[in-house]
C-alpha cells in the first residue's frame, strides 16, 4: 500500500496546478474563457497540448504519453480545483477512452496524434433522452449497406459536441431498444451530411449539444470496435468517466472547502469573525469529513477503474454514490455558510456548487448507483 505519487506524477501535478493557477487565477478569467464561442479558449487548449495533457492517457506506441488512472486523477483534480472549462472530460476522457479501448491500430495511428496535438477533439455521443442512465438503452440505429452504414436517431446532451470534429456515436446494429447486445460504435465527423448539432450552454457554465442523425452515411472503417458488442466498452468508458469526475469533484470540493473556511475567518458579524461560532465550526468540520470520505473513494475509483468488469462496476458505483453525497453536502453547506453572497453569480463558490451539482447527475445519480451496488449484493461478501 502506497499513497504517494511518484516523482514524475508529482511533476505532472505541479505543472498542471501551475498552469491552472496562472490561467484561472480569478472567476473573471473563467468567465472570459466561457464567453468564447465554444465555451473555452482555443489558446488554452493549445497550452494543454503543449503540456502533454491531451495525449496523456494514450500509450506511447500510439503517440500518447502512457499515463494511467493516477495521472488522469491528478489532472482532473487540478482542472476541478480551477473550475477550468476546457472539454478535457468530453474529448480526452470520454472520446479518448472509446478510441483507446475499441480502436484498431489504423484508427489509433490516424487519430491519437491529432488528439494529442490539439488539432482534433472528440465527443462521446451515446446518451439518449429516454435512456436516463441505462447504458444499454439505445434507439439510434445503424443499418448496414454496401461499403458502410446509415445512422438514424437522436443523441441527447452530448458534452462539448460543438467543439468536436469527430463524434463517437453509439447505434444499434441489432436487437431491441433496451437489449445489451447489438450496440456498435461509429466514428462520425461532425460535418457529415445528415448530422445536425443543436448546441446549448449547460447549467454549470459548460456546453453540450443534441445530435440529430438523419440518414447519416459512414464507411465501414467508421466502425469502432466490434459490431454488436460495444456495450462492455461503453460501460468501461463511463466507469472511466466516473473516476475522472470523482477526481474533478474532489478538486472542486477542496477549493470550495478552502474558500468557505477562509470566509469564516474573515467575515465579521456581532463584532467577531463568524468562524468563532461553534455551530459554524462544526458544520465546516462535517464538510471536511465529507471531503475526506470523497477523497478516499476517488482513490478507490482510481484503483479499481482498470479492474475486471465484475469488480469494477460495483466499485465505481460505490465511488459515485459517495462522491455525489459528499458533493451535495459540501456544496449546500458552503452556500449556507457564505450566506447571501453564496447565492450570487459573482461569487466563485456559487459556480463550484453548480458544477458539483451537475457532476452528481452526470453518469448516474445517487439512486442509480446505489441500485447498481445493491444489485451486485453490496461490497462485502456475507459471512
Amino acid at each position: 500500500m502506497d499513497f504517494d505519487l511518484t516523482s514524475e506524477q508529482r511533476l505532472l501535478k505541479d505543472s498542471v496546478a501551475r498552469w491552472a493557477a496562472d490561467t484561472y487565477a480569478s472567476l473573471d478569467r473563467v468567465e472570459a474563457s466561457r464567453s468564447e464561442p465554444l465555451g473555452f479558449s482555443e489558446a488554452h487548449w493549445a497550452e494543454l497540448a503543449e503540456l502533454g495533457l491531451l495525449g496523456l492517457p494514450f500509450s506511447e506506441a500510439d503517440g500518447g504519453f502512457g499515463g494511467g488512472p493516477v495521472e488522469t486523477m491528478v489532472v482532473m483534480e487540478a482542472l476541478g480545483r480551477a473550475l477550468a472549462p476546457e472539454p478535457y472530460l468530453a474529448s480526452v476522457i470520454l472520446g479518448g477512452a472509446a478510441l483507446r479501448l475499441a480502436g484498431d491500430a489504423a484508427q489509433r495511428a490516424r487519430l491519437i496524434p491529432q488528439l494529442a496535438g490539439g488539432s482534433l477533439r472528440l465527443a462521446f455521443a451515446h446518451g439518449e433522452r429516454q435512456a436516463r442512465y441505462d447504458l444499454e438503452d439505445v434507439a439510434t440505429t445503424a443499418r448496414p449497406e454496401a461499403g458502410g452504414y446509415v445512422l438514424d436517431g437522436a443523441k441527447g446532451v452530448v458534452l462539448n459536441a460543438d467543439a468536436a470534429g469527430l463524434l463517437v456515436v453509439s447505434a444499434r446494429t441489432a436487437g431491441g431498444r433496451r437489449e445489451g447486445a447489438g450496440i456498435s460504435l461509429f466514428l462520425v465527423p461532425t460535418d457529415t451530411p445528415g448530422l445536425t448539432l443543436r448546441p446549448y450552454p449547460t447549467q454549470d457554465g459548460g456546453r453540450a449539444a443534441d445530435v440529430i442523425l438523419r440518414g447519416v452515411r459512414v464507411p465501414s472503417e467508421a466502425l469502432l470496435g466490434p459490431a454488436d458488442g460495444a456495450l462492455p466498452i461503453i460501460e468501461q468508458v463511463i466507469d472511466g468517466a466516473i473516476a475522472a469526475v470523482a477526481a474533478e469533484a474532489v478538486g472542486l470540493m477542496e477549493a470550495l472547502q478552502d474558500l468557505t473556511v477562509a470566509y469564516l475567518k474573515t467575515r465579521k458579524q456581532f463584532g467577531t469573525a463568524i468562524g468563532g461560532f461553534q455551530a459554524l465550526q462544526h458544520r465546516a468540520v462535517d464538510m471536511l469529513v465529507a471531503l475526506e470520505q470523497a477523497r478516499s473513494m476517488e482513490l478507490y475509483a482510481t484503483m479499481m477503474v482498470e479492474a475486471e468488469a465484475e469488480a469494477r462496476g460495483p466499485a465505481l458505483s460505490a465511488a459515485k454514490v459517495q462522491i455525489n453525497r459528499s458533493a451535495r453536502f459540501v456544496g449546500q453547506q458552503a452556500v449556507q455558510l457564505h450566506g447571501g453572497i453564496g447565492m450570487t453569480q459573482e461569487y466563485l463558490g456559487a459556480h463550484q456548487f453548480r458544477r458539483l451539482t451537475m457532476i452528481e447527475i452526470l453518469f448516474g445519480d445517487t439512486a442509480h448507483h446505489l441500485r447498481r451496488v445493491t444489485r451486485a449484493g453490496g461490497l462485502l461478501g456475507a459471512a
Binding site: D2, Q9, A284, V285, L288, S296, L299, A318, L379, L380
Partner: protein, 398 residues
C-alpha cells in the same frame, strides 16, 4: 501510488486470520459476534492465548513484548481480529496503562506490572471521568494529598468500564489544587483491594452491568505507584488518549456486523421470501457498506501517514475516524434492529440481569441491547462534538 496490499501483507493477513479462527475458542467469538455479554474468564482466556503467541500487546515497544510491525501490519492485525470476532485485548491494560508505564514508568514499575498487564493476570480499569468532569476532563476534583511516602486519595470516579472485574485502577488525581487545571494532575496506580475503594454498579440503557462508579475514601497509595513526575499526569493522559484513538474507527467490527446482517437477512422471513429480497433494506445496507469502504481507505491513509509523524501526539485526522467510525457502528446496529423487527421485543437470553446466562439465546434478543449500547460510541473517547472542536482548531485553524 498503489492501494493494493503487498504479497507479504496479504500473507500476514492470512496468518493472523488463521490463528484467530483456529486458536480462539469458537464459543467466545460467537458471543462477541452475537452481542452477548462476555464473562471475565472469556476475556482472560482469549487474551492469554494471544499473549502466548506474543500478540496481546503488539503495539508496545518490542523490549516489553511488542511486535516490530509496520503500521499496515498493525492495521491488518486489528482488522482481522475484529472480523474474526475475537475480544479486543483488554483496552485498559493493553492500549492504555501498559503503554503509559512502558513510556513513563520506572524500571521497577515496568518489571512489576507489564508482564501481568500483558497476560491479564491483573485486570485494570480506568479512573479518569468524574461526575463533574466528562468532556472537560481536566476539571477533575479527586484529590491526592501527600503524607510521607503515601498519597491519601479522596474522590469519585465514574463510567468505570468493567471495574467490577478489576484488580487495579489507573487514576488521574489532583495533586496541586492551586495550579491551573491541567497543571496540577498526577497519574496514580491504585490497588482496588486498598481500604477505602468501593465499587457501585451503573446499569446502562441496554440493561447490562458494564460500567461502575468507583468511590475513593481516604485511600492510601504508595508514592512508588505514581507514574512519572508529580503534576505531569495530564501529559501522560494525552499520550494515552492518542493511543486510544488508534483504531477507534472499529472498521473490522462494523464489517463483521454488516456481513452477519447480510447472512441473517437471507434467513429472516419476509412475505413470500426473506429480508434479503427487500430492495429497500438491501439498499440501506449497501449505503452503509459504501461509507464504510470510504472510511476504510481514510483509515489506511491515516495509517500510511503514521510512518512519518510523531506517534506520541494524536493525529487530528484520527478525529475524523472517530466521528465517522462511531456513526457507522451505530448505523450497523440500527440495521440489525430493523432486521430483527418485532422479534427484537423479547428480552430473552440477552438479558443477563434478569435471566440465567445459560437461557436459550436467539440472535434477535441482542438486537435492541446492541443498538442501545452502541449509542455510547459517539460519546466516549472524546464525544463526537469534542472531536469536531479538535478538528476545527487543529486542522481548520478556526
Amino acid at each position: 501510488m498503489d492501494l493494493r496490499f503487498t504479497p507479504e501483507e496479504t500473507a500476514f493477513r492470512a496468518e493472523v486470520r488463521d490463528f484467530f479462527r483456529s486458536e480462539i475458542p469458537a464459543d467466545i467469538r460467537a458471543k462477541v459476534s452475537e452481542g452477548r455479554a462476555l464473562a471475565r474468564e472469556d476475556y482472560v482466556t482469549s487474551q492469554r492465548i494471544l499473549n502466548a503467541k506474543g500478540w496481546a500487546v503488539t503495539q508496545w515497544p518490542v523490549a516489553y513484548g511488542g511486535q516490530p510491525w509496520s503500521p499496515v501490519q498493525r492495521y491488518i492485525f486489528m482488522e482481522e481480529l475484529m472480523q474474526a470476532a475475537v475480544p479486543l485485548p483488554l483496552q485498559f491494560n493493553c492500549f492504555m496503562v501498559g503503554p503509559v508505564i512502558a513510556a513513563f514508568g520506572t524500571e521497577a514499575q515496568k518489571r512489576r506490572f507489564l508482564p501481568r498487564i500483558a497476560n491479564l493476570d491483573d485486570w485494570w480499569c480506568q479512573g479518569f471521568s468524574e461526575p463533574g468532569a466528562g468532556s472537560d476532563l481536566a476539571s477533575l476534583k479527586t484529590r491526592a494529598v501527600r503524607e510521607g511516602d503515601h498519597y491519601v486519595v479522596d474522590g469519585q470516579k465514574t463510567w468505570t468500564t468493567l471495574g467490577q472485574y478489576a484488580d487495579w485502577i489507573f487514576c488521574l488525581v489532583r495533586t496541586d489544587p492551586a495550579a491551573k487545571k491541567q497543571a496540577g494532575i498526577s497519574f496514580l496506580l491504585i490497588d482496588m483491594k486498598s481500604p477505602g475503594v468501593s465499587v457501585r454498579p451503573i446499569i446502562t440503557i441496554d440493561g447490562r452491568h458494564e460500567v461502575n462508579e468507583v468511590f475513593l475514601d481516604a485511600v492510601r497509595v504508595p508514592v512508588e505507584n505514581r507514574v512519572g513526575e508529580e503534576n505531569k499526569g495530564w501529559d501522560y493522559a494525552k499520550f494515552l488518549l492518542a493511543n486510544e484513538r488508534t483504531g477507534i474507527a472499529r472498521i473490522g467490527l462494523t464489517k463483521e456486523r454488516l456481513q452477519r446482517i447480510k447472512r441473517l437477512a437471507r434467513e429472516t422471513p419476509m412475505g413470500a421470501g426473506t429480508m434479503w429480497d427487500d430492495a429497500d433494506f438491501r439498499a440501506r445496507v449497501a449505503g452503509v457498506e459504501i461509507e464504510l469502504k470510504a472510511l476504510e481507505i481514510t483509515q489506511m491513509r491515516v495509517v500510511a501517514a503514521q510512518a512519518t509523524r510523531d506517534a506520541t501526539k494524536p493525529d487530528p485526522a484520527s478525529s475524523i475516524l472517530k466521528i465517522k467510525g462511531s456513526e457507522l457502528q451505530q448505523a450497523a446496529t440500527e440495521l440489525l434492529l430493523e432486521l430483527a423487527g418485532p422479534n427484537a421485543l423479547p428480552a430473552g437470553g440477552a438479558d443477563l440481569l434478569r435471566n440465567d446466562p445459560d437461557a436459550p439465546f436467539a440472535w434477535e434478543d441482542a438486537a435492541a441491547p446492541m443498538y442501545l449500547n452502541t449509542r455510547k460510541v459517539s460519546i466516549y473517547g472524546g464525544s463526537n462534538e469534542i472531536q469536531r472542536n479538535v478538528i476545527a482548531k487543529a486542522i481548520l485553524d478556526l
